[in-house]
Amino acid sequence: MYYLQLFINGIVAGGVYALFAVGLTMVYSVFRFINFAHGELIAWGAYGVLLFASPPFSLPLWLSVFPAILLVIAIALLQNHMVFAPLRNSQPVTLLIASIGLSFLLRSGLQLYFGSDLHSYQTSFYESIDLGGLMISYVQLAMLCLSILFFVILHLLLSKTLTGKSMRAVSDSMELAGIYGIPTRKVSVFVWIISAVFAASGGFLLALDTSLDPMMGLTFMIKSFAAVLLGGVGNVWGALLGGLCIGIIENMGTAFISPGYKDLTAFVLIIVILLFRPQGILGSTIRGVR
């Protein structure tokens, strides 16, 4: 029963990791670089809610989610416009360094405004349901439902709408897609919005379950990177699978090793995956892996 509980915790956390990983993998598949600042979108999502829920705005927690998501979308579009778009033709490493700088800038901004201490939301939403020995809190239930909802929406977007189809074309080859008259600018805006919305909502949900920490962005960025690698770089459904795997492995792992090493799981996985299966579990194509 103990293991089942850990397994369920793992699935819940993994669903949210998958939300982060989707953004990371979509940005990679279209722009061909690892957005190190992705973690800061997560953290700003969580802190944005705190910002709008506390004075001078004092919105109810649920209402403040929406301005927070808008804020994160604005950050994502701004970073694309100011930094990543001008650097489009540079080497991936130049973009990676720029995104490290960006992440440092955004995180320090967060620390400057909110301080380095842990925060948590003022809410009484922490009751749990007892399912014959299994405890699932409402927060966890919300995390699970929202992850599923987001992935259904993403699936519909990618397969049914023109923008989604264009995005898949652009990720194959931005140049060719441009030649075919696909509006690549519109697609990049679309990718950044999806990435921002998923990161911000996931960040809020995880912060609701645990707490807000200025360093949370880095931790989750590393985890979602592990998820991306596990699922195969550039593969949206691989990111879902990878996120779930990371969540489950990490939570089951706490039964066997000291909880202090919980965050280590993702790092070890990154190195092991890169060594033995750089194309990921699902990836049969070598595309995107050099």
Binding site: T94, I97, A98, L106, G109, Q111, L264, F267, P278
Partner: protein, 292 residues
């Protein structure tokens, strides 16, 4: 005066640290974002040895050896990756080192850190002046080593590998072996810088070796100019003096707690602007063929 000594020592340690990263990042094109991991290994090695009674010199030597060896072991599997993948794997390595130091309390006392690390002592004298002189000698000797490496056939091969691995292979160079040796040398000097750091501050804890330091040292190298000997020196001096100079800004009292964060924001911004405007850094590497 004490304060200037402090800045001098910190500058020298950063110069050594940044130059060792420059060997990997600038010369061989290995984007090692986990260099701070080797710095931490060096610090803890010498701290643990000197705290159990060995001399500082033995500690520093051991710091170099252990860090170099870890670089060798780490690079054996990871060097199969290239570009940004290598970068993330090395970043993961540095975080693994930090988590190890944080969790193995029997060895490192975990988050409480190691206090009371002995200072450098020459002929019974100790203090900041002695530390400064020691750091100066060690840094100058190390820089001399780097210069030798850069101008040797070994260094030229590294630059060839950075520019085009396939060409290097076609010339019969064992690329992986060259990279492994570079990682070992770079890590050893990184470990030495870490050792000096530990003996200067007298107290280390795992959280000193976070991503913050990685970004700082990366900034030193990228700002100064990758692949040049002088670049990291200029970069380190600039980064340290700007960082320290910000303390003297006339800020309202409520803001003083935030100086560290403002400093980080500034460094992040500079890193972005550099990538946008001048990715080669202040001192650009000359691409003329030099006869040495």
């Amino acid at each position: 005066m004490e304060y200037l000594l402090h800045i001098g020592i910190v500058c020298l340690i950063y110069i050594l640290f940044a130059s060792s990263l420059n060997l990997e990042l600038g010369c061989a094109g290995l984007y090692n974002f986990g260099h701070v991991g080797f710095f931490a290994i060096g610090s803890y090695t010498t701290a643990l040895l000197t705290l159990s009674g060995y001399s500082v010199w033995f500690g520093l030597l051991a710091a170099m050896l252990v860090a170099g060896l870890s670089g060798l072991i780490f690079s054996w599997p990871v060097l199969r990756l290239t570009g940004d993948y290598f970068g993330i794997a090395s970043l993961a390595f540095a975080e693994m080192v930090r988590l190890f130091l944080l969790n193995e309390r029997w060895l490192t006392r975990g988050p409480m850190g190691l206090p009371g690390i002995p200072r450098v002592e020459i002929l019974g004298y100790s203090g900041n002046t002695v530390t400064l002189l020691t750091a100066l000698v060690i840094t100058v000797v190390s820089l001399f080593c780097f210069k030798k490496i850069l101008t040797s056939p070994f260094g030229r091969t590294l630059k060839l590998i950075r520019e085009d691995e396939h060409v290097a292979r076609a010339f019969g160079k064992d690329v992986v072996s060259f990279k492994t040796r570079t990682m070992a040398i770079g890590s050893a000097f990184g470990g030495l810088a870490g050792g000096l750091w530990a003996h200067y501050l007298g107290y280390i804890s795992p959280n000193d070796f976070s991503l913050q330091l990685t970004v700082l040292v990366l900034l030193c190298v990228v700002l100064g100019g990758r692949g040049t000997l002088l670049g990291p020196i200029v970069g380190a001096v600039l980064v340290v003096s700007v960082g320290e100079g910000l303390r003297f800004l006339p800020l309202p009292a409520s803001m003083t707690a935030g100086v560290a964060h403002i400093q980080s924001m500034l460094f992040g911004l500079v890193l972005i602007l550099l990538m946008l405007r001048r990715p080669q850094g202040i001192i650009a590497e000359s691409h003329l063929i030099q006869e040495t």
